[in-house]
């Protein structure tokens, strides 16, 4: 019997998961998120149910060394209003998955903890685990010696805890009641994997501007679309990665399968998206020079017609690139999960910032999911949140939507040239 205790290491959990042939990202432990201002009450509730509760405040700087918590059943993270609960305690103490509907409950949700992977030596790491699993399987004669590659990916080392991606949590998109229903969002990029099961049943309008089928053979477009518009409930314990899961999706393929194109194709796509009155138009692309009169004209036309163009500032740690450097286009910078500006993120003309490092989202099948980093990944976070805001009020369009996104963003202790008004927030 495996152990899913607070002190169980990520490696032990992952190995156990592979041994069990677990096809989800669930670790076997659980995350309980408290309602607002219910920190102490939540801890009391866990104690009253017989759990031994430890608190991250007991550690210096709240830098938690799990091994120091001995026999605790739950570990409270006061800064984020959540607690990690051992699998054993969850089973034995009558806790239940889902949203707590009782008004007197201090808990908002209880969800499975899932593995989260970061970029880096990921593939090697997982291959190592695969080999270990195959040896174990062979010894136990229980598991097939070669499992599906896709079951084990995406791969990585830094295992963390979330029911949604860190980006959605940081933007508060994962707790928003809004869906983006009724709002059209255009993603102008390398297209979309139209056979991706996470987009099955969605309303999708497509057009190619580069002489290739819309089907995304690159992956950049599928990743960006996933963040802005992806599903609320991916299968199993895959973390939620999509913000506007109720939106109508417009896929304009303005970049070829090599990830490149020319500004005329981008303009063509902008024109199409505006003609279709897409409330939000997301561009995770660009190039040097500018600001260009044509991009500025396109941004102005968009705002005048109730559309908002958001664009990535660029990834070369230099001045903001085009089209984001046009005054009529909202420029998006990237943040790390420490909420610091990403080292690669461009600066200067920046209106707002969003999660852009180690972003988990959809990629073309059969890989299905993957991590990417860049202002490209930050931009669809803003696009998704913009769709949620637009749903709240029909008057939030064009410049009004731009201002709303800035006014509601979370201030950060960095210059506006790096983060604009701050971290985008969902309604």
């Amino acid at each position: 019997m495996a152990s899913y205790r607070i002190t169980t290491t990520a490696e032990e959990l992952l190995l156990d998961s592979i041994e069990r042939g677990n096809e989800t990202f669930a670790t076997g432990r659980y995350i309980c998120t408290y309602k607002e201002n219910a920190l102490e009450e939540g801890a009391r509730e866990l104690t009253s149910r017989g759990l031994k509760v430890a608190d991250a405040r007991d550690s210096a700087d709240q830098a938690v060394d799990m091994a120091s918590y001995g026999d605790a059943d739950a570990l409270v993270f006061p800064e984020i209003g959540a607690a990690l609960i051992s699998g054993e305690a969850f089973q034995e103490r009558g806790l239940e998955l889902g949203v707590e509907s009782a008004s007197d409950s201090p808990f908002a949700t209880i969800e499975p903890e899932v593995f989260v992977f970061s970029e880096g030596a990921a593939a090697d790491y997982l291959r190592g685990f695969r080999r270990a699993a195959e040896v174990i399987a062979s010894d136990l004669s229980e598991l097939p010696a070669s499992g599906s590659e896709a079951d084990l990916e995406p791969p990585e080392a830094d295992v963390a805890v979330l029911g949604a991606t860190w980006g959605l949590a940081a933007c508060k998109a994962s707790v928003s009641a809004r869906t983006g229903r009724g709002i059209s969002v255009a993603i102008l990029d390398t297209g979309l994997d139209l056979r991706h099961p996470d987009f099955a049943g969605r309303s999708i309008v497509t057009r190619s501007f580069v002489g290739q089928p819309v089907q995304d053979l690159h992956s950049h477009g599928t990743h960006c679309t996933g963040t802005a518009c992806g599903t609320k409930a991916p299968p199993g314990a895959t973390p939620r990665y999509g913000i506007g899961y109720g939106t109508k999706i417009y896929i304009g393929k303005v970049l070829s399968n090599s990830g490149s194109s020319v500004s005329g194709s981008v303009l063509d796509g902008m024109n199409w998206a505006i003609a279709n009155r897409c409330t939000v138009i997301s561009l995770s692309l660009g190039g040097g020079g500018g600001p260009y009169a044509y991009y500025t004209a396109a941004g102005a036309a968009a705002l005048k017609k109730g559309c908002l163009i958001v664009a990535a500032a660029g990834n070369n740690a230099g001045p903001t690139l085009a089209p984001a450097n046009s005054p009529t286009i909202m420029s998006v910078a990237s943040l790390d999960n420490t909420l610091r500006p990403s080292s690669f993120s461009n600066f200067g003309k920046v209106e707002i910032a969003a999660p852009g490092r180690d972003v988990f989202s959809s990629v073309p099948m059969p890989t299905r999911y993957g991590l990417k980093s860049g202002t490209s990944m930050a931009t669809p976070h803003v696009a998704g949140c913009a769709a949620l805001w637009a749903q709240t009020n029909v008057n939030l369009r064009g410049m009004a939507l731009w201002k709303k996104l800035q006014a509601t963003s979370r201030p950060l202790p960095f210059p506006p040239s790096r983060v604009g008004s701050g971290l985008v927030q969902a309604p």
Partner: protein, 73 residues
């Protein structure tokens, strides 16, 4: 495309009917014009030597060459 011919993006003022501007641009060497009416831009090809003439057309705000773009990955 002939040698010396390249793709251009013409940005125009909404104050003049775009079809009138396109006609005049065509007369001054812009070929295969594609009107992007929502945003007030026209895509087309022309030899570089024609560009001063294109810029002189009433209602034209800017004439710039197409530039490369890439995914920010």
């Amino acid at each position: 495309m002939d040698e010396g011919t390249q793709r251009w993006i013409v940005t125009v003022s909404p104050a003049r009917p775009i079809d009138d501007i396109v006609r005049e641009l065509s007369a001054r060497g812009l070929t295969d014009p594609q009107v992007l009416g929502e945003i007030g831009c026209i895509l087309g090809s022309a030899e570089s030597a024609c560009v001063p003439g294109l810029r002189s057309v009433s209602g034209v705000l800017d004439v710039s060459p197409e530039v490369p773009v890439t995914a920010f990955q």
